[in-house]
Symmetry: C2
Subunit: 327 residues, 2 copies
């Protein structure tokens, strides 16, 4: 089942069911109007949406219409939680190596994760509105999940079962604000503006076997200004799977339905696969030549993030954003 949230002028938009091939959509209003409502009452409402999804995929939904990703808000336009891991340790290794720092041994057993802002999440085609290019605007291509309720102390394996939906994310980062902010010790705040999500969120079965062991075994493509810069495998090199990330988050507290958990920048040891954020490219340049050569994003730049399934078709639709100045 694939779900999206259509703009309707309201803060939470209108829930639609989208066909597997992303060609058709159908309002879910007979079942639920908002995605959070479905997550709050998943066992009751999701089977009804599955029925609609099946009818739609069979071409039998009478009020279906052409699906337009440009009309999508984030699947959850605002969420009660957005916690982003840094589960690809290769990304951490690269960035640290570039600045001559060691990766602490604990980083291989204890996930890095930050609490993000979730009051203002962006649709897949919304602009990245930035205050200044001097902040060092970067994209971060990631995979993310939406959970049901997860009780404090849930184990990593059990946490996998709490995953309701998967999405792609662009965790936009302001690189030049990060060092000063992290030095204060309280984590990211100004250096992480609004995050964008893929047009559709999908149930794990839509990955047709590529969802295994809490990881998505598919390539994540990043296209910056029309040029493919990354085609990174989101599977085997994810040091901590999503169950482990969720278990980390719920170690001392309950995690409630509708929480979004991110993988962090997808990153592979094989540099020829490219990169899912510019910071990593700059780290490689620094390691190889002593200094970064690639600039961060400028106003007018575009970024497209997409993932093809085992059948070669786009799973989530594409995140396709342009950087603009805050007006």
């Amino acid at each position: 089942m694939k779900l999206a949230t259509y703009q309707d002028g309201s803060r939470d938009g209108q829930l639609v069911v989208v066909s597997r091939d992303l060609s058709l959509a159908h309002y879910a209003s007979g079942v639920a109007t908002r995605l959070q409502q479905v997550l709050d009452d998943w066992n009751f409402l999701s089977p009804q949406l599955e029925d609609l999804s099946q009818t739609l995929n069979q071409g039998k939904a009478r009020h279906a219409f052409a699906f337009e990703p440009e009309k999508c808000m984030a699947p959850l336009p605002r969420a009660y939680q957005w916690a982003d891991g840094s589960a690809f340790i290769n990304h951490v290794e690269l960035v640290r190596k570039a600045r001559g720092a060691e990766v602490p041994a604990s980083f291989y057993t204890d996930p890095l994760m930050y609490q993000g802002g979730s009051d203002d999440l962006l649709g897949a085609c919304d602009p990245i509105a930035a205050v200044s290019t001097e902040h060092g605007i970067d994209f971060e291509a990631e995979v993310a999940v939406i959970t049901g309720d997860v009780a404090v102390g849930t184990t990593p394996d059990a946490a996998i079962d709490s995953i309701r939906l998967l999405m792609l994310a662009n965790d936009v980062s302001l690189r030049h604000l990060i060092p000063a902010e992290l030095a204060k010790g309280f984590g990211f705040l100004q250096s992480k503006p609004a995050t964008a999500f893929s047009p559709v969120a999908v149930t794990p079965d839509e990955l047709l076997g590529a969802w295994r062991g809490g990881r998505v075994h598919l390539n994540l493509e990043s296209v910056w200004n029309g040029k493919r810069v990354g085609l990174c495998d989101a599977g085997p090199e994810m040091t901590f799977h999503f169950g482990q990330l969720i278990a980390h988050l719920c170690k001392t507290r309950n995690v409630r339905a509708g929480s979004i958990i991110g993988s962090g920048t997808v990153s592979n040891q094989d540099w020829s696969r490219g990169y899912s954020c510019i910071a990593e490219k700059r780290a490689i340049e620094t390691i190889e030549g002593g200094a970064p050569k690639t600039d961060f994003m400028q106003f007018g730049d575009t970024i497209r993030i997409e993932m093809k399934g085992l059948d070669g078709a786009s799973v989530f639709g594409a995140i396709a954003q342009q950087v603009v100045a805050v007006s």
Copy 2:
């Protein structure tokens, strides 16, 4: 106007209007069922609630009933944002002095603030369910505000006008988990379990002149296991007022309606006023005698946090929690 959220078995509870003296309540269901709904559409809905509030205060509301704080959820049982400042720099100075560290000069001009979890907020009388007393369970008595929409780049003065409601907060902290977590650089996660809020949230006019310049000029009382341990002035020593905290948060992104922003532990330079968190008491003991003597909270401990208005009456009702083991 004073507003509360009554338990009704649902995730978001039922909005009630509460009388100024906290004796009576009335369901707001003719106007709105949930507080977030009111914040989403404040200019239209809040005058209708003000009318009901006035009728209730005049003793003329026909379906009023006795207000019971024990039946309250947090005014927002789940929120789209909870960002907590550390606006009382005296607290930061004390904690740093105890461990022999300097306060960086920038801390006096650039607020400390962390992004907190907001998916699971506690009612005023909900237990503090902790995994282990070895985590160093501490209370933190604070003032918090709920905002309307605040556009990116809003100035501190203008941000004050975005404040819709005020509350008290108990930002429970797990002190022994903090050092390792902050050393990772990504801020608090496991060390900040669910935060509790006062029974009622109030509009600024309810402070009868004690709300001035973005600060609450009233004393915040903390009673631990029946003993008053703090009576700290939340006003003049708040280094950054709430407008400054909100402006800090919205420097690079929009802040959306229903965001909760906290003051951090209320703290005064005059040690005779006591403390609003145990960490501060331990810092003073360390400064005076070389080591802390006071233990953190144990299972069964109670904490009561309350603020009296200029008229001597409780403004927000009391946060009254007990520490229990996660079952």
